[in-house]
Subunit: 307 residues, 5 copies
């Protein structure tokens, strides 16, 4: 164990050793082991956006085991996926890499203004499948937010009892927000804070834009002289909003981008003190070897930042 990992574990004094052990595993796996940084491979896009949009660009990805292997090949800290996908690879890859069971999911065959995912897996599933963590999406800004918050309260309690890490995807969305507001820096910071207050160990948010959604938040930030010009600045603020950097905040990559865009984005995240990234489409939609290279290059960025 490195000093940094020890320091990170020390932030979770209310958790039992079982939670710490799984968090340790996630922090000590793969290329970034011991750095306190994390690059994860999430593949719930089949469920979230449909298989065509997700896997047609690189058809081997239709087989969930492809992603287990990709995560292993690239040295990711963990692989996150919905129930069925985890079930597909859990025996074959048992013990080979930390798994995050994505416990709620939305699909695009119905989409209301105020989203709420279905709860699609349980803590029992996570245990029987050998997962290190559960993942759960909340949509602050949705009229249905309370139901999601209450679901994760119960599930997080149960997960922690069982020694599982809790990862919250906190994605502002719904009738309470403008479209631009979903990635506004004040809103992303708020969303990260809500996830921390709900007891998340790892928080996934989107890279924040310079947009300000709530005027009073903007005023407070301006008055305090908080720099928000670059993505690195904004990442720094979002990390601060999650208990002053004492929760693990990682950033998702979003839609497919050029390699350089991906790298530049991660350079900014790393510069701002972000803990890492969870990169789906930009990895698994590339051919295998390209994906491995890209993931490795991204890991290099974080490895440098950790020094």
């Amino acid at each position: 164990m490195t000093d940094r990992v020890q320091e990170i574990l020390s932030w979770f004094g209310s958790e039992n050793p079982g939670v710490l052990a799984n968090l340790y595993r996630m922090l000590m796996t793969g290329t970034l082991a011991g750095t306190g940084k994390m690059v994860m491979l999430p593949v719930d896009q089949g469920f979230e956006h449909g298989p065509a949009r997700s896997f047609a660009p690189n058809p081997p990805g239709y087989d969930p085991r492809y992603h287990f292997q990709l995560a292993l090949d690239a040295g990711c800290n963990a692989h996150a996926a919905p129930l069925g996908a985890i079930e597909m690879g859990a025996r074959e890859y048992a013990g080979q890499l930390p798994l995050i069971l994505k416990a709620n999911n939305s699909d695009l065959l119905y989409s209301g203004e105020d989203p709420i995912p279905a709860v699609t897996a349980s803590v029992d599933d996570a245990l029987r499948l050998g997962c290190a963590a559960i993942g759960f999406t909340i949509y602050p800004g949705s009229a249905n937010r309370n139901e999601m918050y209450e679901q994760i309260r119960e599930m997080a309690w149960e997960a922690k009892q069982a020694g599982l890490v809790v990862v919250i995807w906190s994605y502002p969305r719904g009738s309470g927000l403008s479209k631009e507001g979903e990635t506004a820096v004040d809103v992303v910071a708020y969303a990260a804070h809500i996830a921390a207050q709900l007891g998340a160990h790892i928080i996934k948010v989107k890279p924040p834009t310079a947009h300000i959604e709530q005027p009073k938040s903007g005023e407070a930030l301006q008055k305090a002289g908080v720099k928000l010009d670059t993505l690195a600045d904004r990442v720094r603020y979002v990390v601060q909003a999650a208990f002053d950097g004492h929760r693990i905040v990682i950033f998702s990559g979003g839609e497919t981008k050029t390699t350089e865009d991906v790298l530049e984005q991660n350079r900014q995240i790393a510069a701002g003190g972000g803990f890492g990234t969870i990169m789906g489409r930009n990895s698994f939609q590339r051919p295998h070897d390209e994906a491995v290279k890209l993931l490795r290059d991204v890991m290099d960025i974080y490895a440098q930042a950790a020094k």
Copy 2:
């Protein structure tokens, strides 16, 4: 134990010794120990108003442990916060001060006309984190009020079985009330009474204005010759409305004010027989030493009033 604390405990004849023991702890902790008065530090504003508005004015407050330490340094009777914040500091500060687990919370990323917070923590959480009390917000005036009342009925029952104190934040708000009515003296008194009837041991309300929202209440008060001119007068009436002063009614400070405004407000609360204050933004948004001084000065006011 002082005579006054013994007297206060005697009002709770239906509770078990476990509840009394935790109430005793809250009344016998800190600068005001034994006076029967209470000054508490609540920090749920990060969740309720967002991290920018809450912590940008004094950035050390992004770390929840800052508030544990501030409450200790100033000698507060207790510190109240949501689940994640309590989890952040509970091991480090275990046993050092009474904690109130705020068990429901709202955020501003969605706000309907008729508010209802999400239930974000449980009695089991309060026990595992070593809390002395649960805190719960109700919004009388909201179309969703019944759901909140029913949630706290169940949670209060469970808390009392487990020996925990029940603190209700009773904030009138929603489509049943005008904006001005939210702090109208008749409405605040009514809200304090509802909390008492729901079984609260400690009731937090806002300082009441001279506005009257419900004409019939106004007539009754006028006919009875109830003086409502000064804040002290109105506090006196609100305390009376909570079982003739036999429940612990404390007042929140509200938005940031000048030091003199805070002190004057508390002088009035103390003069009216209020049991104390729960002062968040006016303390933690000041620099640490200023905050400690202000909290101590406020405590002095109540200590004087208790003589």
Copy 3:
């Protein structure tokens, strides 16, 4: 035990001895013990109408214990109040008079067209607090009536298992009725019948006016030659509607009246065979000694009627 009480108990052949024992206690307590008549003191007005309108006219009533003492001093059969008020006095007055735990309550800070109270107490609360009965309000005429009927079905079932008496406040109100219709004799009779059908042992209704809300009911009554001219006539009909007088139907007094009005109203109720009254504001808003005298005078009326 008197013959009359024995006769009344004989109407409840489906209830267990625990329910009968508590009903016996209510019928054998106070000034009217043994007569089969009941005068009760209900104090839920603080919750229902707010503390100002309820207690400003006689400020000692802000303390719930005042009402326990008033009920005892006057020799009432029972005292009804919400959870918090019962908790305030239950230890001090343990065993001294039958208590009815009012298990649902509304407040006036929000009022929709179709009322539904919040469930604010449970059968477990009634047992731990030593109550003889639970009280529950239904609003026939409200679009939400079914939810109330279903809540009391469940709670009544549980209460009867535990040997508790079930008292239903049946107050027609809501979008299904005109304002005048709320106390129309056909509606009040209908409401009493619904309460009886829901399994109530004691039914509280308002004194019916001569208004007829539902034409077909009016026709049927007219055709059958039912006399409805005086309040006594109408009370007789309402009592008949509740299983031909085999459920205990009592009448509430409503808003504050002159002493003579109160007495005259009760003379009519008694003359019509009503089982008694549950008199809140007309008692506790008078000074203590006046209230005791008035309650005693009302009891005299029923005592005479019982001969």
Copy 4:
């Protein structure tokens, strides 16, 4: 309520108002109401010794309702009996006198060296039958004592939650003791203490003899100069052993005796500060009127002692 009853209730600060209300009823019922003394009628001998030995001497006693009536006629504080007998009379006598549901029983068709009764009724039974208390026998000295202690721990917890009084019959018996030791003063005092430690509100023991079973106890008593010559002396010591007189200790009458023996025994119990007696065979095996007279004479003794 008398001062003495108030004082007695004050000893049970850990119980809820429901328990106090039922204890109040037992203390405020019958001839000895308000004195703090109790004379109860227990009839479990049919189960314990068989119907012939129990009821042949006075055949009306074969009908359980005879005993309800006898207890009423004599003004007993309560009547205790097993499930079936309570079921036989509970409706007819509902509410007329406090009932103690004897919740475990032994029979003589099998008798091992180390007795343990069967659990024959539950807290749910007590509630549905309108009982004020459960009664439970423990046999300290039996190799099976632990099982009994653990049964009453669970049942007492449940009874107290439901507001029921807990009466423990503490009868030393079994292979750990000599026959003479069963009523030895040191053993009876020890048995009373065990019942108090198990959470009993009312403790029933046998009148102690001057025999000492455990030499070390004898030495301690002698060294302390405890007077044990008369039954009154020994009763005083047994009462002291039950939390220095702060639990209600009553004494059973045992086998049939002459009237004078019964009276003399109770004079001694009263002189020693015993709280009363629970007198079965010596009352119900006598003809009804003799039994009433004897019970009344015994009550007189306690009434005198209470002055």
Copy 5:
């Protein structure tokens, strides 16, 4: 909080903050607050040895509240007693000192060769009575030991979930051991180790003699050159056996001794690094003021040792 208390708390990394908070309270209460040493007052001897042997030497001790007051007056860290005794004082002394609910108990009216206490209280009882800890006796050496180990496994799990400290009285006794072996140094050390392995936070053992019960243990100790000549030596070894001094091992005083014997014994315990003592008969069997003086003198010994 002192460094030493902080250090002690750091040994319990697998416990939640609730357990730490209660342990903190026990370590920060009374005369020895902050030293890391503990002197507790246990009074279960009434149950364990009978009231005569326990309380006849100092009769005020028959009232359980005497011991609450004695513990307070002397500044003990905690008071331990069975259910009934805790129920007797819990309301009056609510919050004033940490309470340990002794959850199993034996009596001497039956004593088999292989002892096993009855489980006489529950975690729910501890919570409703406001206790900081449960106490539980195991008898290693008894044929029934496994049942005790399994009972405490379940109860300790439940207690820790609820934030309660677990105190194990580990008293070797039963057919597996000679009488002399019960306090043999190898056996006492073994018993302390078993308690530590069962998850105890605080372990109570008897002062060990120089006797060796198990030859192989003796050989190992001799070979390793472990000094066992003085009580201080043996205490040092027993403390080492409990996770190298990282569990809180306290020593009981046993039967009544002269004051000098008590002091000398505690000097040895302190010299050997024992964490303190739990002293029943030697305190409560003395007159109150003598007892307070003795307890204070013993506390002085530990306070000196802590410097």
